[in-house]
């Protein structure tokens, strides 16, 4: 009669794991017995039992998700071609559908690698904006305006992603760090826009936005670390 090595209870002969704690029932293979793949069981080498757990099939999902995108693209193109002259909105719509499909594909296929996925999303966004700029009477605003803003957005998103990966995404501090990144992003966008249109850096509205965001960010970070260290408010703020 097998026993659970964690709970100390007897188990049924046929039990593969303990019904109480799910600990597997250790069983030795018969000498020379083969596993499901036909290879002889190797008792000296540990088996990677986790490899088969949580394995996903992103390509199947990607193929399923691609169908509506492809359908939308075909509808846009066929509607546009039915008209006498290919209209501008057809290009905009088709470009948006392709970019959307690219972003979803990146998420599905390489979501486990956040930096390449985020870089890919940045590149897709930049390519879409460049395409729109070309449609709008040649390249005009892409290089001075769109590209720096997309780059700044990518950098801040990657920074936040790294921070969450390092500190763990749970907790109030994640909101605090997101607010801080948003404030810095606003400042960057403000600088780029004012430099393009006024010829000089004038970050007035981003300072207003920052004056709202930064105190909240600091409050969230403070609260998080105060609770984490079990600092009591009465003691911490005593007068």
């Amino acid at each position: 009669m097998p026993y659970c090595w964690k709970c100390g209870v007897q188990l049924e002969e046929s039990a593969r794991s303990c019904p109480l704690c799910a600990a597997p029932v250790p069983r030795l293979a018969e000498p020379g017995a083969a596993d499901a793949s036909g290879k002889p069981a190797d008792l000296d080498r540990p088996v990677d039992t986790l490899a088969s757990i949580g394995r996903r099939h992103p390509y199947q999902l990607w193929m399923i998700v691609s169908v509506p995108f492809l359908t939308a693209l075909l509808i846009v193109l066929s509607l546009s071609l039915r008209m006498e002259q290919f209209p501008a909105w057809g290009w905009y719509a088709a470009g948006s559908v392709v970019a959307g499909w690219a972003v979803v594909s990146l998420f599905l296929v390489i979501a486990r690698f956040p930096v390449p996925a985020l870089c890919g999303m940045g590149l897709t966004t930049a390519a879409l904006l460049f395409f729109f700029d070309l449609l709008d009477a040649g390249p005009a605003w892409f290089l001075p305006l769109a590209l720096p803003i997309v780059l700044a957005g990518c950098l801040f998103t990657i920074a936040i992603t790294f921070l969450f990966a390092a500190k763990g995404p749970k907790g109030l501090h994640s909101i605090g760090f997101t607010f801080l990144a948003a404030a810095v992003f606003c400042l960057a966008v403000d600088c780029i826009v004012t430099l393009r249109f006024a010829g000089a850096i004038d970050p007035r509205w981003s300072l207003v936005a920052g004056s709202v965001l930064v105190p909240f960010a600091l409050l969230f970070i403070l609260l998080h670390y105060a609770f984490k260290r079990r600092v009591r408010f009465q003691r911490y703020f005593h007068r």
Partner: protein
């Protein structure tokens, strides 16, 4: 009507006092269905079981009924049909669609060597279902192995049922003058993630009665006290492992069979509860301390005087003229709210002990064991059912949560006490 004690077979029955509330609260999760099963020494023949069931059900006319909707109350209407024998299901104690036409409030399931009676609490309590199962087994074994000797204590088809078997003993024995019981605060509830609605997972531990008795005697307690204390211990460990803001008194529902106290012969609901508690906000309780508290509490509370308060409150509510005049469509939501606000809210879990099953020697040799699975509860997410037969006691935990942590701590504690436990899941 069977409100007046021991009326004859009228063709229809009012729901008993406890049964009145259950149709209002039935859901996928709170099915109010529990299960008593017997495992035989040989494979069950479904055809022979169906024949035995058709014969036995006529002996229990108050179980051969459909639920019908009246204007003010539900009632049970007698039928000439017999329930079918069904194959066993993966998930026990599934909801019985009792409000549909042609649906019995009990069902008989067979699988391999096991025969199970799943019964709604609207119809009867564990004692009634166990009596029915024993009669069914006797008839089945009779048909396979010839007349069994010594089955006099077990109801037999063809016998006229005692009219008192279908009485509402709550109404008969309640005391008009008894004061209402004290209201109880909200109890600690497990915060584990729930399984999808309708799923009910059961783990059974098989223990030796002799070893349990020996361990209980060391603490000067009964087997029931010891099991209740182990469940308190498990819930206390769970409560103390969680956030302090969730700490509340831990209370167990321990059903008390009122037939023994009042000498009633009813086979419908006649059970009330005693609710021992520990409060972990006051500090952690040692095991010996818990056993002592449970032992003395149960000893003090299981007598006719202590149960009168609960019984009188319930019957008075039923007899209240205003309540009686409210149409059923309005009563149902009210009962639903009242049940969850004052019933399950006050308890953390339940431990129902059907006690020792005794069978005539001629039957006992064909029966290996009995199991009792309690009905699932929405708030009391892990419940415990106990039944013993021969030298084995079967402790079954039914849960609607993913984690089996309560069961693990419970059985590990018993192993620590020197009681070998065999677990079947």
């Amino acid at each position: 009507m069977t409100d007046s004690a021991c009326a004859g077979d009228p063709g229809w029955y009012t729901l008993d006092n406890a049964g009145k509330v259950f149709p209002a609260i039935v859901s996928e999760r709170t099915t109010t269905v529990y299960r008593v099963s017997a495992t035989l020494t040989e494979t069950v023949h479904p055809d022979a079981m169906a024949t035995a069931l058709s014969a036995v059900i006529t002996r229990f006319p108050y179980f051969q009924v459909y639920l019908r909707r009246g204007f003010f109350w539900y009632y049970l209407e007698r039928t000439g049909d017999a329930p079918s024998v069904l194959p066993d299901a993966r998930s026990p104690c599934e909801k019985i669609l009792m409000k549909r036409r042609g649906v019995f409030l009990l069902r008989v399931r067979v699988f391999a060597r096991r025969v199970a009676v799943e019964c709604s609490h609207t119809l009867t309590d564990g004692f009634g279902a166990l009596t029915f199962l024993k009669a069914l087994l006797a008839e089945y074994l009779d048909s396979l192995h010839g007349p069994l000797a010594g089955r006099d204590g077990i109801p037999r088809p063809g016998q006229a049922p005692d009219p008192c078997e279908s009485e509402d003993s709550f109404v008969r024995f309640y005391n008009r003058l008894a004061p209402p019981p004290k209201s109880l605060s909200r109890a600690f509830h497990l915060a584990d993630k729930r399984l999808p609605a309708g799923r009910y997972t059961v783990v059974t531990g098989i223990l030796s009665v002799a070893k349990l008795k020996e361990a209980a005697a060391r603490y000067g307690a009964t087997i029931n006290d010891l099991l209740a204390a182990a469940l308190f211990h498990a819930l206390q460990e769970k409560a103390l492992a969680g956030p302090r803001s969730r700490l509340r008194p831990i209370r167990l529902i321990i059903p008390v069979d009122l037939r023994r106290i009042f000498g009633s012969g009813t086979l419908r609901n006649f059970t009330l509860f005693t609710l021992p508690e520990i409060d972990p906000r006051l500090g952690k309780y040692g095991f010996e301390e818990i056993v002592s508290r449970v032992h003395h509490f149960i000893k003090m509370e299981t007598n006719d005087k202590s149960v009168h308060a609960d019984m009188s409150r319930n019957v008075r509510a039923e007899k209240n003229r205003l309540v009686r005049l409210i149409p059923l469509a309005l009563k149902n939501p009210i009962f639903h709210v009242v049940f969850y606000a004052s019933g399950e809210k006050a308890a953390s879990s339940s431990l129902s002990n059907l006690g020792r099953v005794s069978l005539p020697e001629a039957m006992a040799r064909y029966v290996r064991c009995f199991d009792f699975i309690p009905a699932p509860g929405r708030d009391t997410r892990t419940n415990c059912g106990v039944i013993s037969f021969g030298d084995e006691i079967h402790v079954s935990f039914g849960r609607i949560v993913r984690s089996a942590e309560v069961e693990r701590i419970f059985f590990t504690k018993l192993v620590e006490l020197g009681i070998p436990v065999r677990v079947e899941g």
